[in-house]
């Protein structure tokens, strides 16, 4: 138990050690590289704000993926739900002329609903009633979401006047206020922490969350306990999609303020890794997301000030994923069979 809970730290440490050896092998001083990485990520208010800004979408998508994993579902398509959330929030953001106290919540809720529908309507129902594998369907829905988004702003109904493939800017009433002046960090971070705690409470303290958890941990026992498998599937994907949708909305309302052609999809996929690193614990997602946010912001600084290519960060991410995934293998190698006894 304790060994398992410590594993994410061990995995991260191992990744950094091996990354350092690799960097040294290519002729870079690992100490100065990591020093630059660290100061780029956490050296000063601006660096920290940038790190947190990078981490913010990952916090949401990480929680979204963790929620689905805990329910026994692999929502690989958080990226698509993230896009849908962004599209909905953008549209509400520039179209709805309502007072500020309605506008921002409305845009957030719109993004949330869009994400939920994107995950639950087709992947959820197809899985519940036809057994369609949600890994495939959520991923396919991601492509649809991304291309839909591109269509909307590249000659579609959401393109702003002019030739640039982008939407109109959202109205000031829909903007999620900045938290640190001069940076892109918004109050969305508070929302992320609040949401992580709420999802944790949902899973650990409510009857609905208990149903999700027993379904995730033992579908057979859940069936015998009378939990409806279909309802659980649709609900879990809807909740997961809702959180991913909020991620997209927060990114638009707090950082980008409009939908661009180059709006990122990576947050949805990195969210999977963040969730795994956090062992699918909603609150553990927060520090895990900060780690990945720090790698992104620190990596830039490292490239500029220490001359170490940003690819070292990609390697570190890959190694972390490898060691997280390799936990079972390593445990097997070091301890062998649990105790060689079977029920006779």
């Amino acid at each position: 138990m304790t060994a398992g809970a410590l594993w994410p730290f061990t995995a991260t440490l191992l990744a950094f050690v091996i990354g350092g050896i690799l960097a040294a092998g290519f002729g870079f001083n690992p100490i100065s590289a990591y020093g630059a990485l660290l100061s780029g990520a956490f050296g000063g208010a601006f660096a920290i704000a940038t790190t947190l800004t990078n981490a913010l979408p990952l916090m949401f998508t990480g929680v979204a993926v963790a929620l689905s994993f805990r329910s026994g579902l692999f929502n690989i398509g958080a990226a698509g739900q993230y896009w849908l959330g962004a599209i909905a929030a953008t549209w509400i953001g520039y179209r709805a002329a309502v007072p500020a106290w309605v506008h921002l919540p409305m845009a957030l809720v719109g993004g949330m609903i869009a994400g939920a529908v994107w995950a639950a309507l087709i992947p959820g129902i197809a899985k519940a009633y036809r057994g369609a594998n949600e890994v495939i369907t959520t991923l396919m829905m991601t492509y649809i979401a991304v291309y839909l988004g591109h269509y909307l702003i590249e000659g579609g109904p959401m393109q702003a006047p002019g030739f640039t493939p982008q939407s109109p800017q959202i109205l000031p009433t829909a903007v999620l206020a900045g938290l640190v002046p001069g940076t892109q960090l918004s109050w969305g971070i508070a929302l992320a922490v609040l949401l992580a705690v709420m999802v944790w409470l949902l899973l650990q303290r409510t009857a609905v969350g208990f149903s999700l958890r027993i379904t995730g941990a033992s579908p057979g026992a859940a069936r015998y306990a009378g939990v409806s498998p279909r309802g659980t599937i649709v609900l879990a994907l809807a909740l997961s999609g809702a959180v991913a949708g909020i991620a997209g909305a927060v990114q638009v309302l707090g950082v980008d303020h409009r939908l661009y052609d180059s709006f990122s999809t990576s947050a949805g996929f990195t969210g999977i890794v963040v969730a795994l690193l956090a062992r699918n614990h909603p609150i553990g997602v927060l520090p895990a997301a900060v780690l990945f946010g720090a790698l992104a912001s620190g990596g830039n600084a490292m490239q500029i000030s220490a001359g170490v290519p940003f690819h070292l960060v990609d390697i570190l991410q890959g190694l972390i994923i490898f060691f997280i995934a390799g936990e079972g293998l390593l445990r097997y190698a070091s301890w062998g069979r649990p105790n060689g006894q079977r029920p006779a």
Binding site: T206, A207, F210, R213, A217, R223, A225, G340, P343
Partner: protein, 512 residues
């Protein structure tokens, strides 16, 4: 039953396997505590013990699956220290596991040669394989069709395939792990005859079991293991079942508790023309204060019957619980109407292994008062009730925080019973309630089931273990090929007739 015993062989049997001072430690326990054991040529040597006594560990060491920490083994006069099952097989040791390791989609011949195929160039010479299997079959009198698909074979036949697999690899020492656990009496007798044939040809057999009477029937000597120690080796005929049981458990065991004939009341559960997944139509009544045993060989419709009654699978037909129709209800509604479910697979269906005992106890009630209010779990209520429930069913350790996966098999099953019987259901459907449990835990489960019956509830007991059905039931139904092949009061039930019914013979046919 004829006793397949070869008393004279015992005298002239040279030692085949000698085990001295074998020690094996696992984290936290001493699994084998300097075991001495020996096996003679042509002998059947039974190893008797409860779960966790060290039987499996000993056999796994003999078969090269794990290595001992200390001790010596001599096989046919040579030092024996297998580091893998491959080593064991090459040394002439074969093992038939309790759960067969066969591939259902392949034929008998293909399964037998798998991993050791005769080749012609790069291709498998299936003809040569079949010829060789044929020779083995005639030599040892093992009746099985080499071209049949394993999927189509009965449990007894599959076991013969496993034995063939070992013989094909030139096994001279055969380890049989609980070989009769899933067999009918007829199949068991057939197995004992086959063992006799094998030993007559000089093959030595280690026979692992926890059934006292069959050990006396099939073996010449018996070694009892208890908590990792060998508590004596005796001639099987010279020791009483009571003495064996005492050595196994370390205390007196009431071998068979008196079953008071229950006074069955009005029907509690009525099943009319119930059919699902090719099983049925089934019509049965279960009365208050009655245990209705459903005997049958695995795969004859038990899963469908349980699934249909519990509401897990779509089914046609009518089911009443205490006068009210329940066949259209969901699983949860049926549970609320008073159905208790003890699934046959406690690890897959009965428990959520990575969750705590307290959480597992709450599985059927977590969503309603007093365990939840307004959708929020009342964990304080859970922790108030959990210790009492665990103690009432002797779950060790009686701590709500321990995870179900950390409990032993017996304690896991007690945890399931604490939840299902603890909820005082009107009707309990118990499937294989003692599968894989040791004598002590089995006795406990049986006593609890009887207790529930005596309090006026009805129990539908589905079990592949005929002894269990006979020991507990007030009436017995035999399920064969998805139909009720026979239904009789316990006092009229006869194990031979039941065995024939289980294998699909017409009722009251010309008996053997």
């Amino acid at each position: 039953m004829p006793a397949p015993r070869a008393g004279s062989d015992e005298e002239r049997g040279r030692p085949v396997l000698i085990v001295r001072n074998l020690i094996k430690r696992f984290p936290g326990i001493l699994a084998l505590d300097s075991i001495d054991f020996d096996l003679r040529a042509g002998e059947v040597h039974a190893v008797l013990g409860e779960n966790g006594a060290g039987k499996s560990t000993l056999m796994h060491i003999l078969y090269g699956l794990i290595r001992p920490d200390a001790g010596e083994m001599m096989l046919w006069g040579r030092r024996y220290a297998p580091s893998s099952p491959r080593d064991a097989v090459l040394s002439g040791v074969g093992m038939v596991h309790q759960h067969f390791l066969l591939i259902p989609a392949l034929t008998v011949a293909q399964n037998v040669v798998l991993g050791d195929e005769p080749r012609r160039g790069p291709l498998i010479d299936l003809r040569a394989a079949e010829d060789r299997i044929d020779r083995l079959r005639t030599a040892y009198g093992i009746e099985v069709d080499p071209t049949a698909l394993v999927a189509d074979l009965s449990v007894g036949m599959r076991q013969r395939v496993e034995v063939l697999k070992a013989l094909y690899r030139d096994a001279r020492l055969l380890i049989l792990d609980e070989p009769t656990a899933l067999l009918t009496p007829q199949e068991t007798r057939h197995l004992f005859r086959a063992i006799q044939e094998l030993t007559a040809r000089g093959i030595s057999v280690i026979f692992i079991s926890h059934k006292l009477d069959e050990v006396r029937l099939v073996s010449q000597r018996v070694t009892v293991l208890r908590r990792g120690r060998a508590v004596g080796t005796e001639r099987s005929t010279e020791i009483t079942p009571g003495e064996l049981a005492r050595r196994m458990t370390g205390h007196e065991v009431t071998m068979s508790f008196r079953r008071q004939a229950s006074s069955a009341g009005e029907p509690l559960l009525r099943i009319e023309d119930l059919s699902a997944q090719g099983t049925g139509p089934l019509t049965l009544d279960l009365c208050a204060g009655e245990i209705l045993g459903v005997a049958g060989i695995e795969g004859n419709g038990q899963e469908a019957l349980i699934g249909a009654l519990a509401g897990l699978i779509p089914a046609r037909g009518k089911v009443w619980l205490g006068g009210a129709r329940i066949d259209h209800l969901t699983v949860r509604q049926r549970v609320e109407a008073g159905l208790g479910l003890v699934p046959s697979d406690r690890q897959e269906d009965g428990l959520v292994l990575p969750m705590t005992a307290a959480e597992n106890l709450a599985l059927r009630s977590y969503y309603r008062r007093p365990y939840a209010r307004w959708g929020m779990l009342d964990l304080a209520q859970w922790s108030r009730e959990t210790p009492g429930k665990l103690k009432a069913f002797d779950v060790r350790p009686p701590s709500g925080g321990v995870k179900a996966e950390a409990l032993s098999g017996g304690n896991q099953q007690k945890l399931v019973l604490a939840r299902e019987i603890g909820a005082e259901p009107r009707v309990l459907i118990a499937s294989q309630p003692t599968r894989g449990l040791d004598v002590g835990a089995t006795e406990f489960v049986h006593r609890r089931l009887i207790g529930l019956r005596d309090s006026g509830r009805g129990i539908l007991l589905v079990s592949f273990d005929l002894d269990e059905v006979l020991a507990l039931s007030d009436r017995i139904a035999v399920l064969s090929r998805g139909r009720i092949a026979g239904l009789m009061p316990r006092r009229e039930a006869d194990r031979e007739a039941l065995g024939l019914l289980m294998m699909g013979a017409p009722p009251r046919g010309p008996a053997s």
